[in-house]
Symmetry: C2
DNA sequence: CGCTGAGTTGAAATAGCTCAACTCCTGTGG
DNA sequence: CCACAGGAGTTGAGCTATTTCAACTCAGCG
């Protein structure tokens, strides 16, 4: 499943005529290898990306070298919203990924269709806040896993494309704590580590009880 | 400066004709007393609010009773963005507050002018993530204070309209830790507590060094 | 076959939480 | 005008979860 070629994002800006605002397909697809940088903090913004397959992480670097992962995005999702002329975040492929682009209007605004997506992204960020603000590492990790399960269609077997470091930077904890929490869930029989990047949920109920949907109804 | 009357938000929905999309003033202003609930989790969404004066907190209640404050808003700011038909958050006045409303379009979308505001709100939420994800309590509080300073025009004297509990729920720490961190900043000569709700920044440099703008350039 | 990076596990250090006592401020009623 | 009550804030002491530092395992790959 490894892409055979890696095309820099700036090279595959599609002709405007091809970019229907109604998201009609097919559109040109760029194949990116793992760890490819899609855009960087400080670059000019303007293009939105839609993931055809694969996974992407959005993060920010701090002055002291720490990193905060803002979001993970998977197939079918759109990312790249910014409020200024300049990117505030980095976007990077986690695995082999196929991307298409969505341009802004001539006047520098987004098609109205995308308002909904931007708002959804806002709410997602705010809900992530609830998770990072939680005190317990087990809780955080459970919420993370339940979210992954749901986004992967509710199957027992969950793919974890990102590294422990990514997860730690996403949840605001060290990789050791991520690892220990996973081990704890394993030892309690809630999940099984099929491999480093794939787990099997043995007791979805107990997992989601740990995650305990923080928001009321 | 206490408002003489408190009008429930549902009572001051202005006639559509008055709500110019270009934000022309004057518009009807509702005066709300402190602790007035502007909207609640679960209510129908649709109206945006603009703060003429005062301060508002946006928060969410968790199933276990914990609270996460998502944002504070001050004069000149607009809040109330949602992605669904229903409010995900509570909005409540912190002090006496004057509000005006901005309706959505007939088709349930926001005027295009507001896209920018929504995106700004998204980025704000994502930056809040950086703060809550930080490990040190002193750092978190410093970032919070620096933000307040900037939003109040960079003066030495900062107004803290919210309680320690609000601050704690915003930064993801207990009120005791908020208090201890403030005392620490005080004992180090970085600030002075004029009163519980007003501080004087003695060394803005050292404060912002502690806050150490996490994002590079 | 050994190198490298990712992940795990252990032990000690520590930051923040919890519980509890206390102070301070403010508003109220005598 | 003063006394008092209640809420908000502060401070202390002990406890615990997470971080830190370090050693180790494991898997993939030249």
């Amino acid at each position: 499943m490894r892409a055979s070629s890696s095309i820099a994002p700036s090279n595959f800006r599609a002709p405007r005529a091809l970019l229907a605002k109604t998201f009609t397909r097919p559109r040109p697809v760029a194949m990116l290898t793992p760890d490819t940088e899609i855009y960087a903090q400080g670059e000019a913004s303007g293009v939105l990306y839609r993931i055809e397959f694969g996974a992407v992480k959005i993060y920010r670097l701090m002055a002291d070298g720490r990193r905060q992962v803002i979001a993970f995005h998977f197939a079918g999702e759109t990312f790249g919203f910014e409020c200024g002329q300049v990117r505030s975040f980095f976007a990077e492929c986690i695995v082999a990924t196929g991307l298409t682009t969505v341009d802004m209007d001539d006047d520098g605004r987004f098609p109205a269709d995308l308002m909904e997506l931007a708002l959804k992204e806002m709410v997602r960020a705010q809900e992530h806040l609830l998770v990072v603000g939680k005190q317990s590492a087990i809780e955080k990790l459970s919420v993370f896993l339940v979210d992954l399960v749901e986004r992967q269609g509710g199957l027992d077997s969950v793919d974890i494309p990102m590294t422990r470091t990514d997860i730690g930077d996403y949840l605001g904890m060290t990789i050791e704590t991520v690892s220990r929490s996973l081990s704890r869930l394993k030892s309690e029989g809630i999940l099984r580590l099929r491999s480093n990047r794939s787990i099997e949920i043995l007791s979805p109920n107990r997992l989601s009880r740990l995650a305990s949907k923080p928001w009321i109804s």
